[in-house]
Amino acid sequence: MALTNEHIKQRLIEKFDTQVSSFEEPYGMLTFEAPKDMNLKVLNFLYDDAELKFRFMTDLTAVHYPDQPGRELAVVYHLHNLEDNIRIRFKVFTDINKPDVYTATALFSAANWMERETYDFYGVNFIGHPNLKRILNVDEMDYFPLRKQYPLEDQSRVDKDDEMFGRGGTLGFGTEKTQHGTITEMEKNDVGDEIV
């Protein structure tokens, strides 16, 4: 029988019952979710099963959703069945205060650096990883930059011309985001010329 998304969903529900959930198919790729303690069990099932054969890990990354308390960090695995050409996406959600997820390096060696990158950017702690340290950023960095609350630019620059970039400054157009108050009080009440 051909391996369709419906069939894969059936097999997953048979094996894991209600623990796999949120089945969706955005743009044709089956996407589902499981609790974070089950991630290795699901990955092993997808790998070992003689019919499913998802033996190639395409991608491993994380997403930060600050508005979902208790489920802020999502670790997303993309797997690929090369023989039947089916792709599948598997998500695992974890709390940002305790972001521990089991590592997949025992199963896929490709996950080694991908998990290090995820740790570097989001702070997801992969339990059992052979060498979990920062890979792309400077080793001394003490925060996890890709989380939504951190800004993109380096805040310690002094040579940027705020006026030209529309960030306030003395001319006042742009947003009032800087804490020193970018628009003078006089200008705040200035509503422009009177139209007669």
Partner: protein, 407 residues
């Protein structure tokens, strides 16, 4: 008395291996990556890689840019073949928006993508030659890369970081000069490639340097997530162009060259063969494009009013076109919400774009699945037990591009 001034690390007098830092600036590392090798005489015992020396935080930048502003970022991923990255990104956006491009656009895209694949493989193979001591191949072949650069210049204006194409097609039709240049390239290049092959393929010194160096079996390669020519050299015929055809690749006849042992020699031969296959694809695409006549020959983009700039004469006369023009330039168009993963066959392997959109103007999350980053992990396994000179050859034959590795 010198021991008082030099502070040696723990255990460095007792240990029997030498630590060699093949540092970020080294003529053999093309791009900035660091390898700290433990050598036992000439043999490598272990290797530790450090990357991130050119980390430019693309993924964070992309969260604040609208779709067109991300195209120049994708240019700088694998900068030896930037049109492939651009096309891959545009294909991802088209998948998200549900845009179908006309056939002529697809064939033109195929021409550009295959030209850039040739350009990338030329750099990789000639640098393998340089690293084994043969500088001539590199100089000879750079001349023909200039021809490819001239073709890009004719179409989009820029040589290296091209920012070519738009969502839905191209910014302008290919003019006659572009077609003349492509024809000239197709006529002159096969002879050059033959000479380049003759220089290396049965050259005894080259063969002795590369056969057996950095071999990997197909199972380990799949487990490490290899894709592209490195995987095909190990024996697995996985090519995104055949598996999930995009941009009308299914209309073309070509073969996938596959190696056996996965060592440097096989990788060199696979890349050479892929260049021949790319030449044949460009010939077929060129012929197919010439078959479009009349009004069809003027089609160079799909109809995507929200993302493709309207014609200037319409902007000056019609209200709707004026509003679309303003909204597109100021980046005020909202994307549909959704998550999509799309991949193309880059010169190094499967280049994937994972885009999550929440309905705003910029992506909520954009992740690049970069092939170089994933297969560089295997470097330690590839060089364990090899000699130092083999380590250099393996690094250059893997085609590591630092921009793609660190993103």
């Amino acid at each position: 008395m010198s021991e008082q001034h030099i502070k040696l690390p723990e255990g460095s007098i007792e240990k029997t291996t030498t630590t060699l830092n093949l540092g970020p600036t080294h003529p053999a590392t093309h791009g900035v990556m660091q390898n700290i090798l433990e050598l036992d005489g000439e043999r490598i015992v272990s290797a530790e890689q450090t990357i991130g020396y050119i980390h430019r935080a693309f993924e964070k930048i992309a969260e604040r840019r609208n779709l067109y502003q991300i195209t120049p970022l994708t240019d700088r991923l694998n900068y030896c073949s930037s049109p492939i990255n651009n096309m891959g990104w545009h294909l991802t956006c088209e998948k998200l928006l549900g845009v179908k491009t006309p056939k002529r656009v697809d064939y033109l895209r195929v021409i550009i993508m295959e030209l850039s694949r040739i350009s990338d493989h030329l750099i990789c193979n000639s640098i393998v030659g340089v690293d084994s001591g043969a500088y001539t191949g590199f100089l000879y072949v750079m001349q023909y890369r200039e021809l490819i650069y001239e073709i890009y210049e004719e179409i989009c204006g820029s040589r290296l970081t091209t920012n070519i194409g738009r969502i839905g097609g191209f910014e302008r039709n290919f003019n006659d000069i572009a077609f003349t240049k492509i024809r000239k390239f197709l006529d002159e290049y096969p002879r050059v490639l033959k000479e380049f092959e003759n220089l290396f393929t049965r050259n005894r010194i080259f063969m002795e340097r590369t056969i057996g160096a950095g071999a990997i079996s197909a199972d380990r390669a799949l487990n490490y997530g290899f894709t592209g020519p490195n995987l095909r050299a190990a024996g697995v015929d996985y090519d995104v162009r055949i598996h999930s055809p995009y941009s009308s690749y299914e209309d073309f006849q070509f073969e996938i060259p596959v190696g056996t042992t996965g060592d440097c020699y096989d990788r060199f031969l696979v890349r050479n063969q892929e260049m021949w296959q790319s030449l044949s694809i460009i010939e077929q695409a060129f012929r197919k494009v010439q078959e479009f006549k009349g009004a069809e020959a003027e089609v160079y983009h799909a109809d995507v009013p929200e993302y493709y700039l309207p014609e200037k004469k319409d902007v000056y006369t019609k209200m709707e076109a004026l509003i679309w023009h303003f909204k597109i330039i100021m980046g005020e168009i909202d994307m549909p919400a959704g998550e999509v993963y799309n991949s193309v066959e880059g010169a190094n392997g499967e280049l994937g774009f994972y885009l999550i959109s929440d309905g705003g103007r910029a992506p909520y999350r954009l992740h690049f699945r970069r092939p170089c980053f994933i297969y560089y992990q295997a470097y330690e396994e590839l060089t364990r037990g090899a000699m130092l000179s083999d380590a250099i050859i393996v690094m250059s034959s893997l085609n590591l591009i630092a921009g793609e590795m660190d993103a």
